[in-house]
Structures are given as C-alpha cells and as structure tokens.
Point group: C2
Chain length 231, copies 2
C-alpha cells in the first residue's frame, strides 16, 4: 500500500470484527517495527505478544476491559528497559568494527555506552553527571543528559514509541487495524509478564480487523498553524 | 512509495548532499506527521522548523556541530509540552460532541482531562493521585498514572515520538533522508526557541538528500528472538 494512504488510513480502532487477523501478518509487522531508528541503536525495546488465552484474558482485564482490547485478535505489550543496552553492546561493537565505522564511533560503543546508560543504584552518579554537564555547558554546547535512571529509561521509552508507530502503520498496510492503549494497569501488566523493576510498559497495542463504528467519526487535528512554528 | 519499501529504505543519515531538499516536501511530511496517534488526542506536540540562517547556525552548534546537522537542508526541533492539553481541550470537546461520541468520552474530555493532565505546582496533587491509584489498584485494575508532572510530560514525549516516526518515514517516501538527533544541548535549544520550562525537546530531526557514505554500512538489528517474546 502507498505510504501516504497508510498514514491517512490508520486510526485508533475501539472495536474489532470477530474475524481473526492472521498471525503471520502480525509477525511481519513486528519485523518492520524493529527497523525504526532508536537511541544509539541499543534497541532497549521488547515486544510481548500474549497469545495464551489465559494470559490474554488477564491482559484484557489489565487494559481495564476496554473494547479495543476485549474485541482484538492480538495484544502486544511493548516495553522499554533502560538497562537493556547490556545485551546489545557486544553485538554493536562487533557491528561498528565490521563496517569500519569511524574510530570515535567504535570508542563510543566500547567505552561511552556503559557510562551514558548508567546512573548507579539510587542515582549515585547523577550529581556528578549533572555538575559535569552544567559546568561544561557554561563554555560550550553539551548534551545535558541522560542524568538519572529515569532519564535513561525515558530515552528507552521514546525509542520504543518509534517502533510502535512503525508497527501500527505496518499492520494498516497489511489490511489490519490497531489501537495504541495507554489505559492499562502497569503494575498488573508487569506482574503478568514477569518484568523487572527497570522495565516500563510503553503501551499495549491491539490488532484486528476494524469493526462497525470502530472510530467515533472523522479524525480531528488542530490546525497546522498551531503546532508548526517557522523560525 | 510502497510502505514496506519506505520502512526498509529509512536510515539515519550522517551526511547529506549539498542539493537542497524542497521545502514543500518538508511541509507535506509535517502534515503526515501530525496524523500519528497520540495520548487522548491532546496533541501536546510542537514542530519548530528553523529556517533563518542565523538561528539555524545556532541550532547546528547546539546539535554539537555534528555533520548530520551541519550538512542538512532543514532542521526541525520537535518538542513536547505536558501542559499543552489546554489549547486542545475546547476543540476536542466540540469534536467529540459533533461526532456523537459516547457520553463517557464527552465527560472525559470535559471533566477528566484537566485532572489527568495536572499535578499542581511542586507536584502538590501527586501524593493524592498516587494513594488513590494504589488503594483502588488493590481491588481492581486501574491506570497508575500520570502522577507527577514528569509523568505527564513523559506521556507528551511519547506521543511526539510517534509523530517524529511518521515524519521521517514521510520524508523517505518523498525521496529525502533524515537523521533523528538526541545529541544536542537541550538548554541551548530551549533558549534559542524561547521554550517554556514545561517543554521538553524530544529530538532535532535533520532533512536532506543522502550524501556519500551517509551511513556507516548495512543496518544492524538484534535477532527477532531477542526482542519478541511470545506468551
């Protein structure tokens, strides 16, 4: 499907048909999801596709039993974990070496990633980071973060969101419909998926075929002039 | 361009050609960007397209003078402001009324949005919110946030990221190339764009035509089995 058509067709669907959306297409959309750009390519995202009927029922409940979850063919919880750079650091070092990336890039992955993506227990390193950034920033431009563990996990959430957008567009291009849900009980979702404490549930995405009155009406957006500012 | 082709073609480009990417295409991509889904449709995002040569030079410096910024035709700073629900609440109430949305949805926009997206000065309401969610959560599933002002602005950042992904894909579909940059001095960008204290700079996106050695090599991703978990 043509790109613009996909973007214009995608809507948040509150009610799906009973017909089940094919699993192969969901997998295909997940493959396209992880091609999204992400912070330093550390890929701190995870996609939990809940298929088991028992667990799916519990996930629907955790999504406050909303019809966008209840009537969906598939539910995928997307999570972000600021500590997950640990699993990608070695493969990334090998990758930047194999493509002959500039030396500074290789050093970044070998030496700087662990410093950038760590703030210590109880944010022990945060004050040192903040002071360093603040003092250096007086003299020249410098990145001001991430400083705290929360900052680090925020970066991971942001990257995961990019993949989520790829995913919903991909499902649309494959003839399906989606709803990004932020209305869920994060504690219950984390318990259900046995997630560690550093993990945040970015959203739960439901997938299916659009049902009757799947949306409330035409899409509404503020005028461009309110959100686009030319300097 | 076909959707999958766009997703596979999009890469983070570190160096652009000198040829200038057309402004009309950037505007077209911005129009598609804001069709991204977003939290409660409150559209707390802003897109700052810095055209003036003087300001653009300063923005390049704030982007640590990296070549992805220095060689770009266009620079757009995308920001998120958790307090910006105020500008969309009235239009949204009118919209849900006009499409005959369920009563609960109309009430949500009329009454609940201001409560959900406010945490008071110094997070004064946060403890009450947290306790309410915690106690209710003992008995039934309930959303656990947003509690603090930081939580609220996190939601805004996440939504803005979705629009950013639409934007970079749209530019790709129009024959251009992009780089999402998080390597910038947020203090300097905020000062340059006269942003209020509640605004966060989500990323600066550069746009142009891909130059020679625009990427370091083929795209690298972890195996699907490491990031996709079937339950």
């Amino acid at each position: 499907m043509d790109f613009e058509e996909v973007v214009r067709k995608r809507r948040s669907i509150r009610k799906y048909k009973e017909e089940v959306f094919p699993e192969e297409k969901v997998m295909k959309a997940l493959e396209l999801a992880i091609l999204a750009p992400n912070s330093s390519n550390v890929q701190t995202w995870n996609f939990h596709w809940v298929k088991s009927p028992d667990k799916k029922k519990k996930l629907v409940e955790a999504c406050l039993n909303q019809s966008a979850a209840r009537t969906a063919s598939h539910l995928i919880a997307v999570t972000a974990d600021g500590t997950a750079w640990r699993r990608s650091q070695k493969p990334l070092v090998n990758w930047v070496r194999s493509v002959n990336a500039p030396k500074i890039v290789i050093q970044y992955y070998e030496k700087l990633i662990p410093v950038t993506y760590t703030s210590g227990i109880f944010n022990l390193f945060a004050p040192f980071k903040w002071v360093t950034f603040f003092i250096t920033g007086l003299f020249r431009p410098i990145m001001r973060g991430p400083v705290t563990n929360r900052d680090i996990s925020d970066v991971a959430v942001k990257s995961a969101a990019l993949a989520c957008e790829n995913f919903v567009l991909a499902i649309t291009s494959l003839g399906g419909a989606t709803c990004m849900m932020e209305g869920f009980d994060e504690c219950r979702v984390k318990k259900l998926l046995k997630l560690n404490s550093s993990t945040r549930v970015v959203m739960v995405i439901s997938v299916g075929y659009e049902g009757e009155r799947g949306t409330w009406g035409p899409q509404f957006r503020l005028p461009l002039s309110e959100v686009i500012h030319i300097w």
